[in-house]
Symmetry: C2
Subunit: 515 residues, 2 copies
């Protein structure tokens, strides 16, 4: 599957807005705007000498400098990215796209980039929603799609070595042939790939059962402008800092992860999903916390708040026409890879939950990657829709949720936005919060969202959350990130970058502000 | 409890060698040497100006420059450390010992150390067995024992903030008052402390149930010569690299961890331990791997090899006089914090295990911190005894075990040593291996062990293991560690050190070679 620039997901399977949603948009004051998408206009790309350098490494047929190739590698999929696509904004257009086929070709490009006067942006799935692909200066995009192999499968250790360009479904298909699964199913699953999962610390919808991607990685290979680093001689070690965890989340700022060794598990022979209803988000929150702290955890555990539950119930494509348990209350989804675990259900019942059966669960499963597809038709209708997420320790979750919601409502102007929220990743000591915002676009929707995002970021910082639980830093969170970790930690990361990338060719201005 | 310099553990509870062990030593060619311990002789310490600087920060009464205080903070507890103690070797004698009472006092010392011309070695439990307390030049030892408070307990998030100087038993006592446990029980539990657990990536005997210490830490505060870094706004985050994992394992080279936020759990109301017998180490290995990969894991899971089983069975103080199931075979110990889990036992039975009941398990539990006490009387008898450990992915474990054993036997000379081995920490993708070596001392036992250790390190590297699973790097593993992570990773760590400690006052020559 190839993503379409400026529109999410598989173009063969678009999602139409339900008529109920169209009606709801009117109540939000959403009015269709007249603006039609603007085609991008080209600008000069790389010099002949630069193209020649790249061609010598990968073969000329694997270097693309045409506008279509470059436009399709421009930015990621945040709402402001989509709005810039629609406006034909070429300010972040790569100057070329190069497709290496191996670690050695990646390494050769990075080794020679400074001399060739190139900055390099790694690109695997291209699904960043936080500005992870928009550096501050001209650059070549290094597309990893040809690194698409499973290099090794160790059945005794239950590990697989996967190259960075393997997409989510391809990884599952490669593993399924041998009876295994990775168990990593983020909402970007159809488009995102192994290298991006690692570089941006992805977390999938089955994280309660399989953990985050950074918890699955036991080894990795990093190509840097100064050479290659290989990490991970054992699952865990006391030999110094865990440098795997320094590379994971580095978003291409130190180099390019060309392959990872991941923990795999036997593919389940059965799966079960079901819906549960709680009287309120607070009641549901206590229930999911109980499962997170005392178990037994299911594989999937999600809890929508009242607003998200109500919005989803009104949408027959998402929740199956009112099967969520009647008016009021909140919906939780649980899923098991493997046998149904009655002990989990007993905990939910004891915590005040009502079992709604398999239908809401199956409906969620079928639509689990579809929600982002709704954004494009919503934008078409003139709505502003975007998501953001955070995480915190349990004791801070209620106040954090309130603070972010109030910040968004306060910043988005006179027509109150809809702010939906859910929990989809839990830990013994805390959880994530995922917000979806829908409102009418102002005359300048990009600035409108920027203002709201700044307010949300500040609210997250003030309420003790982290600036991102699973989307990453990119450029959108860069300043908030620097504040979160503090100036000495920023200097430490900058020192690592300087050691590995002294000429600042790697993904400049992503993760860390340029000094 | 105060450790005695040069002898392990609580002086009130020494361990005598069983007579069977004395007989066994004769077969190894062990002969009592005539050497008596040599008292250390003093040498000049800090200047008046340096002592005055320290006194101004912490109060003169919290700065010690007498020989006894300094000798008791000299080195750690490796066998070569003990042999140097016995020889009165003052080459690593600190020039003073300072006892700050707070993070701010630690920070003030580090901020002023370069100007005062001081290098600083952090000291909490003092139980390093890898040369973690022996830097290359004169220094003040910063003893964290007065940072002994539980600062906060968050019952909703199930986290506790513990200062670095809290010893293992004190941490459990503080948490027990509120109904919680940390669940961290390394063999050094009686002496080691929170700061050392974090700085050296400790792993405890209940790691199958509670995880490693680095997995328990969700937040930490680091004092560096350039200021303070606070990390951990959420259990997990996608906001950049996980910098907690860069500080954990840094062994004081970047700064001093003054407190950590750790995940806690409700204190169990029951515990069960039992022994199991397998025909061979290979059979037992398959069984523990099955539990590690498919569960359900107990809280404690240990598997001795044939040699360790036989040695332990001959020792009535360790295994209760032959309750290990008769001659031959290997002994496994499992333990549960909470109810006994029959499903775990069923997996062991299906894998060929024979349940030996509670007696061997209880015997192990009672003696779980006693094994290191045996080293001093063994040294007294003229034996050389030392331990080392590694970890690797499951598929490499058998060859790694063979390679390390052969390297030790080959290096330790004409009288074959006893090499005992067990697995005590398991993961889905691999496990640790812990070796104990007993043989006759040569005329130069320090050089004898150095040679053997070099051979073992090389065998570990060649067979794909990590140089340390839970002991850390110190000076003993420093060169092997640099080889393991490679020159670019070393440069990255050095860059971080330079950013935080530009004058190299922090634990010089520990973790990384001095440049």
């Amino acid at each position: 599957m190839q993503l379409t620039p400026g529109r999410w997901g598989d173009p063969a399977h678009p999602v139409d807005l339900p008529s109920a949603a169209r009606d709801a948009l009117k109540h939000l004051g959403v009015r269709r705007t007249a603006a039609e998408p603007v085609a991008p206009t080209d600008r000069p790309g790389l010099t002949e000498a630069q193209l020649s350098f790249l061609g010598q490494v990968v073969g000329d047929e694997h270097v693309a400098s045409d506008l279509d190739s470059r436009w399709s590698h421009t930015r990621g999929y945040s709402t402001t990215d989509l709005l810039r696509f629609r406006a034909g904004d070429t300010s972040d257009l790569p100057d070329a796209v190069v497709y290496p086929a191996s670690h050695d070709e990646v390494q050769a490009i990075l080794t020679g980039s400074a001399a060739a006067g190139l900055a390099v942006v790694p690109y695997s799935g291209g699904t960043s929603v936080v500005g992870g692909l928009a550096p501050s200066r001209r650059f070549v995009t290094l597309d990893l799609r040809r690194l698409d192999q499973m290099v090794e499968l160790d059945e005794v250790s239950r590990t697989a070595t996967l190259q960075a360009g393997v997409r989510g479904p391809a990884a599952e298909a490669l593993l399924a042939e041998r009876g295994y699964t990775l168990g990593h199913f983020p909402q970007s699953y159809e488009g995102a790939s192994i290298g991006g999962y690692a570089a941006a610390r992805s977390s999938g919808q089955s994280s309660a059962g399989y953990g985050r991607f950074d918890q699955m990685v036991v080894g990795l290979t990093l190509a840097t402008p100064r050479g290659t680093i290989e990490l991970g001689r054992a699952p865990m070690s006391a030999a110094g800092p865990d440098l795997r965890q320094l590379v994971l989340g580095s978003e291409g700022a130190f180099g390019i992860i060309t392959s990872v060794v991941v923990r795999i598990r036997p593919r389940p022979t059965e799966r079960h999903f079901e819906g549960w209803r709680f009287e309120s988000f607070d009641t549901g929150l206590a229930a999911v916390r109980r499962l997170a702290q005392d178990g037994p955890l299911p594989t999937v555990l999600r809890l929508s708040d009242e607003v998200e539950t109500a919005v989803n119930l009104a949408d027959p494509d998402v929740l199956g026409g009112g099967s969520g348990g009647g008016s009021g209350g909140v919906l939780a989804i649980i899923g098991f890879d493997g046998p149904y675990n009655q002990a989990t259900a007993d905990v939910l019942t004891a915590a005040g939950g009502k079992n709604l059966g398999a239908e809401p669960g199956e409906t969620w499963r079928v639509g689990r990657y579809r929600a982002p597809y709704l954004r494009d038709p919503l934008l078409d209708e003139g709505a502003l829709v975007e998501t953001l997420e955070t995480a915190a320790f349990w004791s801070r979750i209620p106040a954090l949720k309130t603070a972010v919601t109030e910040a968004l409502v306060g910043a988005l102007g006179t027509t109150p936005p809809l702010v939906l929220c859910h929990i989809s990743h839990v830990y013994e000591t805390g959880a994530s919060l995922y917000f979806t915002v829908i409102c009418a676009q102002s005359d300048d929707p990009i600035e409108q969202w920027r203002t709201a995002k700044r307010a949300a970021n500040q609210a997250i910082a003030d309420a003790g959350g982290t600036i991102s639980h699973h989307h990453g830093v990119g450029t959108d969170h860069r300043d908030a990130y620097a504040t979160e970790i503090g100036p000495l930690a920023v200097e430490s990361l900058r020192a690592v970058k300087h050691a590995l990338d002294p000429d600042n060719v790697m993904n400049p201005a992503i993760l860390l502000p340029e000094s």
